[in-house]
Amino acid sequence: MQLDATVAAGAVEERIAVASNWTLIWWRFRRHRLALFSAGVLICLYIVVLCPDFFATQDPQQTDARQAFIPTQPLHLFDGGWNPWVPAIVGKRNPITLRMEWTTDPSRKTHIEFFTHGQPYRVLGLFTTSIHLIGATDPAQRIFLLGSDRLGRDQWSRIMHGTQTSMTVGLVAVTLSVILGVVLGGISGYFGGIIDQVIQRLIELLQSVPTIPVWLALSAALPRDWTPTQVFLAITVILSLVGWTTLGREVRGRFLALREEDFVLAARLAGCGRMRIILRHMMPTFLSHIIATSSLAIPVAIISETSLSFLGLGIRPPAISWGVLLQEAQNIQTLALAPWLLIPGLVVIVAVLAFNLVGDGLRDASDPYSH
């Protein structure tokens, strides 16, 4: 009995001993339930990024002034058996304001289908299809799962496309920051001396500036006639201009500490070249840490993009991002009339929350000294 337990313990120890660092990190990460769940949420969001049209029910730019401010049409799956439907919309003109006021009428059902045919679109520029995840049985019928805005555009479809932009901005901006941070931080930490001093002062300078005003000024300087893609790229560059500093600092700190480590000395004595020492010996020891830190930087970039676009100086319409969508919610009278315009904000919160939880989980899991 006792012997069995000892053998079992030994087996566990052996399993740990031969596992690679990445396997260990995965084992530790797996234990954080919330982080694991959040990782699932992020995967879902990035699937939307790959192909927002599949999830959209209609063209996100399609306007119809007669269908402004339609409330949400909640999705029902059953109607005495599997038969998905949404309540129909009934409009009535307000005799005083002369405005159309819409309500949902659950007694009148608009039937919908999954994997239905709708507007054709291209998938990743590879092929064209017209299959959508969800759509009304009658293709001429527009449905508004999350309501419509003041121009009668479908918010659900717009959020799908906004997800693509905002999640990509976060990812690209952080990738740029990581490249800048690792290169400059690495140079600073590995070479030291004057170069280190210059880079450190630069980091301090950049970190002591209020970011939003400077970002605003920089994006205000972008030419008005740029295409949405150009603006998108410029915004990511602007965001990463400050974003790299945190990572740069950390990488530098790691390099400084590692320079003194025996295994680096050993590698040098064995005649390894500088690049080989950096890439083969030093980088692997803090790669996991960089990944964790970057996953914590993505939500910061997302919030920044959202804020800039919300203020009208980020991603510009007709391009769609979460911040652009939230611009519709700026007016409090409008909000009182159409509170569903705040839904893109909830999506932002969920995404940022998920990134933070995954990032924290990764950071804990990547620390080899944590228990």
Partner: protein
């Protein structure tokens, strides 16, 4: 200590010089110069202006000079306290900023104070009651606090107040005080209104600081000097406040350096949404209307405020931590 402060004070003009140059580069970046927009504004209002007049103005403002010379002109005017004229408002920039600077700083300070008086006790409680219900609740609130963009929070609060209570929570005064001269009543009215936007601006910072305080204190609580203090027979709460909490506070003071810029960034957005008298919305308008000298002046003020704030925090840290004070 004195040497350290003097050193930092001497560095201040140098830093401002660097900032002013960077800012000038940024405000000069948009295509065209400020005369182009001026002419455009004039012609939009129906006034025409001849090519010679433009040339004369160009010369007068030094716009026909090379970039560096233009910068030096600008710098010379700044040193004389001349921030230039706003195109849009047709008034000196210094006046425009001056009107709102006081309230901008007041809002930031208020936000800062609220952040600290919430975050420090919450962090201490969380750390000393690790894994308690309150600790878990605070952790959840913190995650949500960090994840919610502050303009979003402002929007939600404004919407709830308007839709369910029929009140407007924008502005810093009740309508009757907006243009009233300063009085005790106006000040009280300001205090009644300022805490909500201050809280909204500070919410993410509060969440972050609470987490930092909690983590710091948990670290400190395991230090041997805590055992020493306990073995002395001190009351637990007194011991925690006197030793580990005091030490956990030091790294928190050094976060002021990055927290202040964040505070100003936040106040810009929240002030825009909640329609507060603040240089943030002024900057936004200036940028959208390409009123670049006004924008430049505001950016410079932001930099100045952060530098001064960071300096104050460094001095506070040196006063609190003898290891830093005597290491100088």
């Amino acid at each position: 200590m004195t040497r350290y402060i003097t050193h930092r004070l001497l560095l201040l003009p140098l830093l401002l010089l660097v900032y002013s140059f960077v800012i000038f580069v940024i405000i000069q970046a948009p295509p065209g110069d400020f005369l182009t927009s001026y002419v455009a504004t004039l012609s939009a209002s129906g006034t025409s202006i001849s090519a010679e007049q433009i040339q004369a103005l160009r010369h007068q403002y030094g716009l026909d000079q090379p970039f560096v010379v233009q910068y030096l002109y600008w710098l010379r005017e700044l040193l004389h306290g001349n921030f230039g004229l706003s195109l849009e408002y047709r008034r000196p920039n210094a006046d425009l900023i001056g009107e709102q600077l006081g309230l901008t700083v007041a809002l930031a300070v208020m936000s800062f104070v609220l952040t600290w008086i919430i975050a420090v006790p919450a962090g201490i409680y969380s750390a000393t009651h690790q894994r308690s219900v309150v600790d878990h609740v605070l952790t959840v609130i913190n995650y949500i606090g960090v994840a919610t963009p502050n303009f979003m929070l402002a929007l939600i609060l404004m919407w709830i107040a308007f839709a369910y209570f029929g009140i407007s929570i924008t502005g810093l005064y009740s309508p009757e005080y907006t243009d009233a001269p300063w009085s005790m009543a106006k000040f009280v009215n300001l205090l009644e209104h300022i805490w909500l936007p201050a809280l909204v601006i500070g919410i993410a910072g509060t969440a972050r600081l609470t987490r930092i305080m909690r983590a710091n204190l948990l670290d400190e609580l395991n230090k041997p000097y805590v055992v020493t203090a306990r073995a002395k027979g001190l009351r637990e709460w007194r011991l925690v406040l006197r030793y580990p909490a005091r030490l956990a506070l030091n790294p928190l003071v050094s976060t002021i350096g990055w927290y202040l810029p964040q505070l100003f960034s936040g106040s810009l957005i929240v002030a825009t949404v909640m329609n507060l008298p603040n240089i943030g919305p002024l900057l936004l308008r200036a940028l959208i209307n390409q009123d670049m000298y006004l924008a430049g002046a505001i950016l410079l003020i932001y930099s100045f405020l952060t530098i001064v704030g960071t300096l104050l925090s460094d001095i506070a840290l040196a006063m609190m931590d003898p290891r830093i004070r005597m290491g100088m």
